[in-house]
Amino acid sequence: MKLFFSILISFLLIGMLKADDDKYINAMKKNLEKLDSLSDLNSYLDAANNFERIALAEKDKWLPYYYGSYLYIIASYMDTVKEKKDVYLDKADRLIEVADSLQPKESEIYTLKGMSAQARLSIDPMNRWQKYGAEVNNNLQTAMDLDTLNPRPEYLLGTGIYYTPEQFGGGSAAAKPYFENSMKKYNEFKPANDLMPVWGRRQVEEMLKRIGG
């Protein structure tokens, strides 16, 4: 009798855990599908809110924090109010720090750290290049070291170089090999599962088209 109940409870618990997992995956998928159709600032902030809710409910999953952070970085580029840009990035940095503590040494997380520093840099390049320039490089380099197949760090490095004046080794010609390498990696890139990041391919295609390659 005791045994019977134990087994029953075990099944019930497993069932619940499974249901929980499904619930997480489904919620994530639902929100990830929406990513491509986001258009205005508010839709990005809405989506960031959605991921943050999942993150706070799950507590030990790094991906919802990751996507929340990613969306806030994009929001900082989209908002035209200059004072708000840093506020979004402060939030993005807090989220990515939590993700980092849950999933240490993750290439995608370092990619995002580099992307956030790049966004900081773009707000006031004259005064910020010294500090954030180094941060962009260090984080993206770490991201590449952690996963040599990840196409995103090279895409971001290429973008940084593309917008750097030619006198400092920037410009489209210098950026081109980065985009080409990144594209090669995108062609071979297989995300570990359905929830892992896949963004960036379209942007690299666009950049290559613009440069003419």
Binding site: F5, I9, N42, N49, N127, Q130, P165, Q167, G169
Partner: protein
């Protein structure tokens, strides 16, 4: 067994009851304006939504019983609401309070100019200091373009609001620096010892500063050193006056930077003829080491050490006998060490402990006389900050400064050993986001004076719009008399002085936005107990004045208006600032026979700094124009003491920086000209003993030009 059954029942019931609770409402700010984009959700569930453009929200949840609703939004404090979910619709009106940390609060800023990357509302950025034309990358040169400072071309130091250079103290990482300037030669100013690149934050206070700092009657320059080096980097610099190199090595949680520079001005003076008759053109060596170690999340250990050696000699005109020249030679050595550790404990406590040591020695030959002038300062400081509520915090701590002044004139040795102990307590209180105050008290004891003091200070700030605020400050400031008073009175028997005292009253209005800054400040400074007495080794020494015995009977005042305007947007790629200072001051100190407008002050000072960036050729152009009315000088033939005034001062400096890449290495080529139009500036006159002959005090060159090269090895872009 029973428990299992209950649990089983509970689980089943839980999944049977699938009825929903609808939750709707509206999110607004304190002024009832709707807040779109707020995140509204039930804690520990996925259930929730974002508020729409009109602040309204609606969602439903299958949760039952007691639950916690959370509303969060960037820039606002998170709000929690206890709910009982039982199927009946819940309607909520939620008001969010703005979070001062993210949207900014009033900043206590009476009397101070801040240059920082960390704070958003600052007047200058660290880069502004090194890119100001005419400043020659010297921190002090750049600060002279701010209101409240005087244009003094014949002596080093910052002369702030009627104060002498002695009344300004330089503080690095919370600790006073004994000799922030290179050793100087009579009538030739020297530059600051420390490179502007060492610092991430600068607060230049022209009055009313915090009780954490003391021993400065007029002004405090508070410098905060960089944290970890950003990256591993090697660079070299080439100038006609010397060359040097630096290397920074960055590890994950630590970094080590070293820098050396050799200077020899002889080749440069071959091209640029100096008015000064140099025998040995200034030559020297500078080296520094900078170590940083980060511990855990918030601990930071900083070690900084620097050494500099210098040598020079020149012939000076003898005013009493033009047929002879006075020979002057100076060998100088300076060593500085600063170690400090800062950490945050339990989120609420910040602890700072620091120690520093500095040693300075100048050996001077004047004709056949030999003089040695030395001092060393050992100090220790501890400061604890406790966060109380919101942004309000309490700061307290103490410091001990032991200075040994050492003087040798031929065979006569003289030594004064001074110990100043100080304690301070200060509270920063935010009454609201728009109204804040800082109240503090500082107490000091001086061993040589055998006296103690108590200095209360208060500073208030009131914000009237997002970008406009009023500030008020009052405080008492003490300082022991300059070392020459201590040494000479010690030599003649007994040191009998009181602390010199200045009371500051400051009122200001400022408007700070990202692009434009306007600031106007009025002040009154009351001097009391200034040291009086005839000092034989002071320069310039007005020997025609009658002898004044040592006392603390000096007094004086300074009052004026400082105006600052900066604009970064009106003209494309152009950033400019304008400063104007009006000053009225009189003082009786040193061997002044009466109250007089001092030689280091003038009523009107005006300067404009402009920077223009040409992106097509990655070149930055800078112009700095400075005007100051003539300053009084001592004429023994005029019965009115300091009754003569030199002519007005004008200077226009130009600088150009071209940023490029040479051999795949990021390179800056810079070129600057000081006094481009060749204004014939005269700072004053020096008279012969009988008053029959005078010589003008002029800059060492009429117009100076310099070109330099700075290379980051193996790095093609600036980052």
């Amino acid at each position: 067994m029973k428990i299992f059954f209950t649990l089983f029942l509970f689980i089943s019931i839980n999944s049977i009851l699938l009825s929903q609770t609808k939750i709707s409402g509206k999110v607004t700010d304190q002024d009832n304006s709707p807040l779109p984009g707020a995140n509204i959700y039930i804690k520990d569930t996925y259930d929730g939504t974002s508020s729409s453009a009109d602040g309204k929200f609606f969602f439903s949840t299958q949760e039952k019983g007691n639950a916690l609703l959370i509303v969060s939004f960037i820039g606002y404090k998170q709000k929690e609401e206890k709910l009982n979910l039982k199927g009946t619709e819940i309607h909520l009106e939620i008001k969010l309070e703005s979070d001062s940390k993210e949207l900014g609060t009033v900043v206590i800023s009476a009397g101070s100019f801040e240059a920082s990357d960390e704070n958003k509302a600052v007047i200058l950025r660290p880069l502004d200091i090194v890119t100001t034309a005419g400043a020659q990358a010297d921190i002090y040169g750049a600060l002279k373009t701010l209101p409240g400072t005087q244009q003094i071309g014949e002596a080093d130091g910052l002369f702030v609001r009627g104060g002498s250079a002695y009344e300004t103290k330089t503080i690095i990482d919370e600790m006073v620096v004994q000799n922030p300037f290179y050793s100087s030669v009579p009538d030739i100013p020297s530059r600051g010892r420390f490179s502007a690149f060492l610092f991430k934050g600068t607060v230049f206070s022209t009055g009313g500063y915090s009780a954490q700092y003391g021993q400065a009657l007029s002004s405090a320059l508070i410098l905060k050193t960089q944290d970890l080096a950003d990256q591993t980097l090697t660079s070299i610099s080439l100038l006609p006056l010397g060359f040097g190199g630096s290397h920074s090595q960055r590890w994950e949680n630590s970094s080590l930077s070293s820098e050396i520079f050799f200077s020899n001005l002889a080749p440069y003076f071959k091209i640029q003829k100096e008015r000064t008759d140099w025998k040995i053109a200034p030559r020297g060596f500078d080296g520094s080491l900078n170590f940083r170690q980060k511990f855990s999340k918030s601990g930071m250990l900083k070690l900084f050490s620097s050494v500099s050696l210098g040598d020079l000699s020149l012939n000076m005109k003898n005013l009493d006998d033009p047929s002879v020249k006075d020979f002057f030679r100076q060998k100088s050595g300076n060593y500085y060490f600063n170690a400090n550790y800062r950490d945050i404990i339990d989120d609420d406590w910040t602890i700072f402990v620091g120690a520093s040591y500095s040693y300075d020695k100048d050996k001077t030959d004047f004709n056949t006389l030999k003089l040695t002038d030395g001092d060393n300062l050992s100090q220790a400081k501890i400061t604890v900050t406790k966060n109380i509520i919101n942004n309000s915090f309490l700061t307290f701590g103490g410091e001990v400064q032991n200075t040994v002044y050492n003087n040798k004139y031929e065979v006569f040795e003289n030594k004064v050993n001074e110990i100043i102990s100080a304690g301070y307590l200060e509270a920063d209180i935010f009454f609201t986001n728009d109204f804040a105050g800082r109240a503090g008290v500082r107490t000091e004891y001086s061993k040589v004076l055998n006296k103690a003091n108590l200095a209360p200070r208060i500073s208030l700030a009131y914000r009237v719009g997002r970008e406009d605020q009023f500030n008020f400050a009052y405080g008492i400031f003490y300082q022991i008399p300059d070392k020459d008073f201590l040494l000479q009175s010690n030599f003649s028997g007994k040191i009998d002085f009181d602390f010199e005292r200045a009371d500051h009253y400051i009122l200001n209005f400022q408007h700070i936005s990202d692009e434009r800054t306007f600031r106007v400040e009025v002040y009154y400074k009351d001097y009391d107990r200034l040291a009086k007495g005839t000092l034989y080794n002071s320069y310039p020494f007005f020997q025609q004045l009658s002898f004044v015995p040592f006392s603390s009977a000096g007094k004086g005042y300074a009052k004026g208006v400082d105006v600052f305007w900066r604009d970064r947007v009106t003209f494309p790629y152009t950033d400019y600032w304008v400063s104007y200072s009006y000053l009225d001051t009189k003082r009786e100190f040193s061997n002044y026979p009466t109250l007089a407008f001092p030689t280091f002050a003038t009523p009107h000072t005006f300067s404009v700094v402009a920077k223009y960036w040409i992106p097509e050729v990655t070149t930055s152009l800078g112009l700095t124009y400075t005007f100051a009315t003539g300053r009084p000088y001592f004429n023994p033939n005029n019965p009115e003491f300091l009754g003569d005034k030199a002519k007005d001062y004008n200077n226009l400096s130009f600088s150009l920086s071209y940023l490029t890449s040479i051999f795949n290495s990021f390179t800056v080529v810079f070129f600057s000209v000081d006094n481009l139009p060749g204004f014939r500036n005269i700072f004053g006159y020096r008279y012969s003993t009988d008053g029959s002959y005078r010589e003008p005090v002029v800059p060492t060159v009429l117009r100076s030009a310099i070109i330099g090269l700075f290379i980051n090895i193996g790095q093609s872009n600036p980052y």
